[in-house]
């Protein structure tokens, strides 16, 4: 629990399903992605120097900052963890429903699992909401005006392009189809606060979301998603992302896939940690940038 951000960075997997699927998605994004798991390399990259004494100082400062609860770095990570656990749980249920749907005696399991696009849409909005909350925990509210804040958000999203591409593809385009972004608002409108309650991550996030009731939280999430949709729409059309292209990109690293797209999405949800993985890397970079400026 009291592991620092940089320790968590160094414990990230070098090569597993998560890393392979991120590598696959990164082929769609210009600039690519390297799986950064070495704290020292990150520090050297940020300060532009190999001096071991400087690296040691930055690291000590980064550890001090990440242990200070007030600074929010750990809190951002626990948000990512909560969302990740929720994703595993719902993904696992969907995989189970898919598997058992073909077995006559077990068909009933498929009918009790929460299916459907609405739940997927709420899950995506929860992830976008978590992203916004984590952003304010890590970066505060940068700048003096709303325009400054918007620029900071866009900059952050640009830095984490592969992370956003993974979010758009795995939680939007694959399970909801190519029209995911335009359908999202309608789906969220149809979702009641009961759908929110069905997601395990919501319980842990509820205290951090502004508002006192489930419906207020839902409102916050919808507003957050509205903000994000504007950006994500441009991102998708700029890179020409579609479900088909995402599957092709994933096949280049994971091997051939012959099922439906939403099955692939369920499989990835259940067995990968892309959200938490890239989250730790993004937080670590911001933390090191701060520590380097403070030593």
């Amino acid at each position: 629990m009291s592991r620092t951000v940089l320790e968590r960075l160094e414990r990230l997997p070098r090569r597993d399903l998560t890393v392979l699927s991120l590598k696959g998605i990164s082929t769609l994004v210009p600039g690519g992605w390297s799986n950064l798991t070495s704290a020292d390399r990150l520090i050297r990259e940020v300060i532009g120097s190999d001096d071991p004494e400087l690296v040691r100082q930055v690291r000590a400062r980064a550890d001090q900052l990440s242990l200070a609860r007030h600074e929010g770095y750990e809190r951002a990570l626990s948000l990512y963890d909560a969302v990740n656990r929720s994703q595993h749980a719902t993904g696992g249920l969907r995989v189970l429903a898919n598997v058992t749907a073909g077995v006559p005696l077990l068909k009933r399991i498929a009918s009790v699992t929460p299916p459907g696009d609405t739940l997927q849409a709420v899950d995506l909005s929860l992830k976008v909401g978590a992203e916004l909350l984590a952003f304010t925990q890590v970066n505060g509210l940068p700048g003096d005006s709303f325009a400054d804040f918007g620029a900071a958000l866009a900059d952050y999203a640009g830095e984490a392009r592969v992370r956003m591409a993974a979010l758009v593809c795995f939680d939007g385009l694959l399970p909801l189809g190519d029209q995911a972004l335009s359908r999202l608002d309608g789906l969220l409108g149809a979702a009641g606060s009961g759908d929110l309650r069905k997601l395990p991550a919501y319980g842990r996030m509820a205290a951090l979301i502004p508002g006192r009731s489930d419906s207020e939280h839902m409102n916050f999430l919808r507003r957050g998603v509205d903000q994000w949709l504007g950006w994500a729409g441009g991102f998708v059309s700029q890179l020409g992302l579609t479900g088909q292209r995402a599957v092709q990109a994933l096949e280049s690293t994971l091997g051939p896939w012959q099922g439906r797209m939403d099955q692939l999405a369920a499989f990835l949800d259940a067995f990968t940690d892309t959200y938490a993985h890239t989250g730790v890397q993004a937080v670590a970079r911001r933390l090191v940038e701060r520590a380097a400026a403070e030593i």
Binding site: I47, L54, H70, A151, A152, D155, A207, E294, I295
Partner: protein
Amino acid sequence: MSRLLRWVIGITIAVTLIGGAILLLPFSTWLPGGTVAEISTREVVNGTEFNALFPSAAAGESVVFTQEKRGFSEAKLKHDGQVTALLAISDTVTAPEARTKFAAVQTRLKGWPLVDQGAQASALLVADRFQVKVIGQGSGLEPERRHELLGAFDLQALAALQPAAASRGRLAKAAEPRRLPPASGEQLPQLELKSAAPQPAS
């Protein structure tokens, strides 16, 4: 008697469970407090105050604010969308060890001690408290350009900043950590120079 025993056992179990829950469950990350170096946030200047002091962008460049916390504000200097430098102001109250590197330096910029850290970073200590730093990113920046950027910050206004606690008449308390910087031998001439340095006209 068995009834008394039952009560005792019941209460013991309840106390153990509650005690265990408080000690073992990860509540601590959600509690308030836990500030950097255990210094009260009121003694640290808020990052909002630093924002206005950053240099304004030249033609073809843009300054994008990226982080703002208690005692810290950071922006990226971008040229044609590429990040060329990190610009930051921090309050060294929470990091007194950061001041040691300025103790013996002779180089000055606008009257404040200037240090180059490694190949890409330059730092300035203003009013013996605020550290202004420029770190070259990507292909890097020449030292002259970094120093020029440092000089473009509004250093006079920065030197005049005070933490919220101090302005409410807690000057002595807020100033205490300031008097403690290491390298005691170098401290006296440093202080003299400080008073000779340009002070705000307020």
